[in-house]
Amino acid sequence: MNMFGMHMRSKTFFWRASTIEEGNEIMASKSAQEGHLSSQEEENLINDTVRYILSHDNTKYAIKRQDIVKDVLKTYGGSSKYIIDGATRVLKEIFGMKLVAVEQNSNVKHYMLINNEKFSTDARYMKWPKEVESQQVLLMLTLSLIFMKGGVESEEDMLSFLSNLGIMSKNRSHEYFGDVWKLLTGEFVRQMYLEHVRIPELDPPKFEFRWGRRAEEEVSRRSLLEFVSLVYGTDPKNWTTQYQEVLQTEKNKREKEM
């Protein structure tokens, strides 16, 4: 495994890979029917889309479908579904990344990139930049709390948990984590790791934290349960409810992939 944590494929690593051309030959007949794009133009558009998505993945904010159409496809906006499908294929087969569509009212509005590789124990040796590292620790703590509490945690309870750990203190940013509250309510929400929602029909307004869409795709509940069991010094299977949920989620993911 190279330093990017991706298994190098036996296929070539370059843009103009043989797989794209093979795939495009099959698709070329379809596009000839559509009558819009030549297979060369198609290939270019798909590659541009892939490059666009990869560079926007930097921030981990959701990539808007509208932006892809506006910036990359421009006049070819009509074939957007087709091009994005092609980009999904390239990302999966060559980069080992899964492009997940986030739907809203059965319309795809956003996309995000998830790592598609199945790591066993190698993941713990991956070296992330310092910022990412501290954010991952903070997310692990918050997401595990929400998970163990059944999927929801109120704002006050989250705050008290973090201050007990010594991470959270109003008006002061933490040495390792930075401005924790800003991360929880701003950055992580924008990156779709967390949802910070208002509890309906409560006055004065109260908020709660839930798992975000990205967390659902990226975070392994099993690993979180294993961490909690580690600090408790017990076996993950002793947490019956949570362990059931782990098994259920894994089953759902397996079925989805088929």
Binding site: L54, L113, R124, V137, G150, G166, F177, F227, L230
Partner: protein, 251 residues
């Protein structure tokens, strides 16, 4: 059915509120219900986490916990894509390319007679300044040579500006133009010090017949100080003319 009028609407409203409240309570109770062998509480969780951190780090430095210990645990929980970032940040494509294109287009449209004019105009201010300085130095040198009864002048006495190292280097640079074009003559005196003398006007025409003599010299601030002391140079022979140099000399 529709004809039956509601007798007591206030009662119905209260009933609705009761149902709403009791369903909220039921929901909360269901959430609180725990069928685990082990129950999970926030308090226990944070306490266990803290004790785990404290036993991991060999030194608890002044009560500050090293959360970095959890980094490898955390990394295992995520399927994150690594992303490439740019080393130097965003690159701005300058407008220079466009401006040049416009200029060229306009030039092509101009008549042939006008062609010579742009060549003069492209001579920019910097080059003019250098030319002026070189002329000025030539004058200074000629005057000093005459004063010295037509004997060559010590090179260092000419170029060194005791107040500014930068001006000294500039002077050497300007003198090198004179040497290159053959207007001055460099040679050694009896003490092996470099001396410089202007070449008489009529001899300049035949400069190709003269031996082209060049001297390579290196100078740094330390040498500059030593030369100042050795030759007892108190005042610059070549007065600095640009604004920057006068500011330096006034310091």
């Amino acid at each position: 059915m529709i004809n039956i009028s509601v007798q007591n609407p206030e009662d119905a409203l209260i009933d609705a509120k009761v149902v709403n409240a009791s369903s909220t309570v039921l929901k909360r109770s269901a959430q609180a219900l725990d069928t685990n062998l082990l129950s999970f509480t926030r308090e226990e969780y944070y306490k266990n986490t803290l004790s785990y951190l404290q036993e991991e780090s060999s030194v608890v430095r002044q009560g500050k916990l090293n959360f970095q210990k959890l980094a490898s645990e955390a990394a295992e929980c995520f399927s994150r894509t690594p992303s490439a970032s740019y080393i130097l940040g965003a690159f701005q494509v300058g407008e220079v390319a466009c401006a040049k294109k416009k200029e060229r287009k306009q030039r092509a449209k101009q008549e042939i007679e006008r062609k010579s004019q742009p060549e003069n105009v492209t001579c920019n201010k910097e080059e003019d300044d250098i030319e002026d300085s070189v002329h000025y130095i030539m004058n200074v040198l000629t005057a000093a040579y005459r004063q010295n009864k037509n004997k060559p002048i010590c090179f260092f006495k000419l170029v060194i500006n005791p107040d500014s190292f930068g001006a000294t280097v500039e002077n050497i640079f300007h003198v090198s133009f004179l040497v290159r074009d053959g207007y001055v003559n460099l040679s050694w005196d009896e003490n092996r010090f470099p001396v410089i003398a202007p070449v008489p006007r009529n001899a300049i025409e035949t400069k190709y017949e003269q031996q082209k003599r060049q001297m390579i010299l290196g100078i740094d601030m330390k040498k500059w100080e030593e030369l100042k002391k050795a030759f007892e140079i108190r005042e610059a022979m070549i007065k600095p003319r640009s604004i920057d140099a006068t500011q330096e000399s006034s310091n």
